[in-house]
Amino acid sequence: MGEAIVITSGKGGVGKTTTSANIGTALALQGKKVCLVDTDIGLRNLDVVMGLENRIIYDLVDVVEERCKIHQALVKDKRFDDMLYLLPAAQTSDKTAVRPNQMRELVLRLKQEYDYIIIDCPAGIEQGYKNAVAGADRAIVVTTPEVSSVRDADRVIGLLEKEENIAPPMLVINRIRNHMVKSGDMLDIDEVTSHLSIDLLGIVADDDAVIKASNNGEPIALNPNNKSALAYRNIARRILGETVPLQHLEEESKGVFAKIKTFFGAR
């Protein structure tokens, strides 16, 4: 019996879909059988980020309305040798096409066959959110270090804590800009975690390569040399129960001189 994890945030544009794609990818790289479920009906993106758009035949709504079998709608990611699948959202309906109890049943069926079901939640706290959290066992809240994003994350955490079947949510802080944190123009990790007071699952630095990879339909977690990829892989390992220390954000873009200074222990 697998575990269903919903990725949510309240606010839009903080990186739910990117996080879903990369956590799913990283878990598959760890040898787990993963199914990604896009619940953003009407505004689907996860297939694009995963580079699987052209292989969609059936979607979530087709499955729920019994126009096809589950395995017919699942898109297999050939890069992962039978370890990673995607259940895409419908692009033509809206959120009301699915009800929470249908989602719960669907996720339960997927849990029989997969180790991890990663559910990508739409922005907002309405019908789409309710559908996404219905079948989940755990929740990951994604936020950026911005006041508005943290405020919405707080709201969502409040709602998640009321759900009886979901374990206490965990936090991913995304798009941290180290130079802004240093200059005091951006909330730092401690400020965000003390405000939200939930466990921190991981931090991801703001990185152009993530955007580039998403545009190319290749999740960044596939690239072993990238820092953000490592961050997502660390998150996956923590989901699996390993203890992995947080990344240092400071090392990036140092000049040769600074590197030499570090080498001699002068900071």
Partner: protein
């Protein structure tokens, strides 16, 4: 002898005693006899009290029920019966009894409810009496109390003390950084401009004059000595 017996019978049937006070009349009703008997006797008594008929002024009546339990309907019935006499108005019905429900409401309004929780954005926590919150109130969250609010944690959202119109209610917090403070009908939005905002000590808010004032927590015992129900250290 038969005359004597009749008198005794009359004595025994004294179900209603009328007493005059400086605030009007007070009607003491027997609390053992049946309700019907009581009604009959009230009517009888009021009819035979000739002095009442001569009085031109309005007379205020206080009804003392003793240990009798009456429903709201019965209270209304007694009130109507008395007020049929044109110059009588019932101002108060006293009883030694309270129902369990009334007692529970009363208890709720006077007790300090302690809650361990974080009040997050969009959440509202409301109690009828005093609130002791062990945890933070995040921005966008709201705590409401009929009485005082004590927060062991950071107040960053909205707190509304004395919700039912109690001007003497206070808000105390370990860290006072509210988005908005409300006490009774007063609203304070300029909390951030308060000079003591930067201080790290615990603070309390109360109504002074027509505005909400924030001060050190230590001033509270002088301002609201009634909050304590146990004497301080000697």
């Amino acid at each position: 002898m038969s005359n004597r017996g009749e008198q005794l019978e009359m004595k025994k049937r004294q179900l209603v005693t009328i007493k005059g006070t400086k605030n009007g009349l007070s009607l003491h009703l027997n609390d053992i006899c049946s309700y019907e008997e009581l009604l009959r006797d009230i009517q009888l008594k009021l009819n035979e009290s000739s002095t009442l008929h001569n009085e031109k002024r309005d007379i205020k009546v206080t009804v003392e029920l003793g240990n009798r339990y009456v429903t709201e309907e019965q209270k209304e019935e007694i009130k109507q019966l008395i007020e049929e006499k044109q110059n009588l108005t019932v101002q108060l019905i006293n009883s030694n009894l309270v129902t369990k429900k009334e007692a529970e409401n009363w208890l709720e309004k006077t007790e300090v409810k302690s809650i361990t929780s974080i009040v997050r954005s969009g959440q509202i926590l409301q109690v009828p009496g005093d609130l002791l919150l062990i945890g933070d109130v995040n921005p966008g969250g709201k705590v409401i109390a009929g009485g005082n609010i004590y927060i062991m944690g950071q107040l960053k959202g909205i707190a509304h003390a004395g919700y039912d119109g109690d001007d003497r209610a206070v808000v105390a917090a370990s860290i006072m950084k509210p988005t908005q403070l409300r006490i009774s009908k007063y609203i304070d939005r300029d909390v951030k401009e308060n000079p003591s905002k930067t201080s790290s000590q615990m603070e309390c808010a109360y109504v002074k004059g027509e505005a909400i004032k924030i001060d050190r927590l230590q001033v509270l015992p002088h301002l609201r000595p009634n909050i304590a129900n146990l004497g301080g250290g000697n």
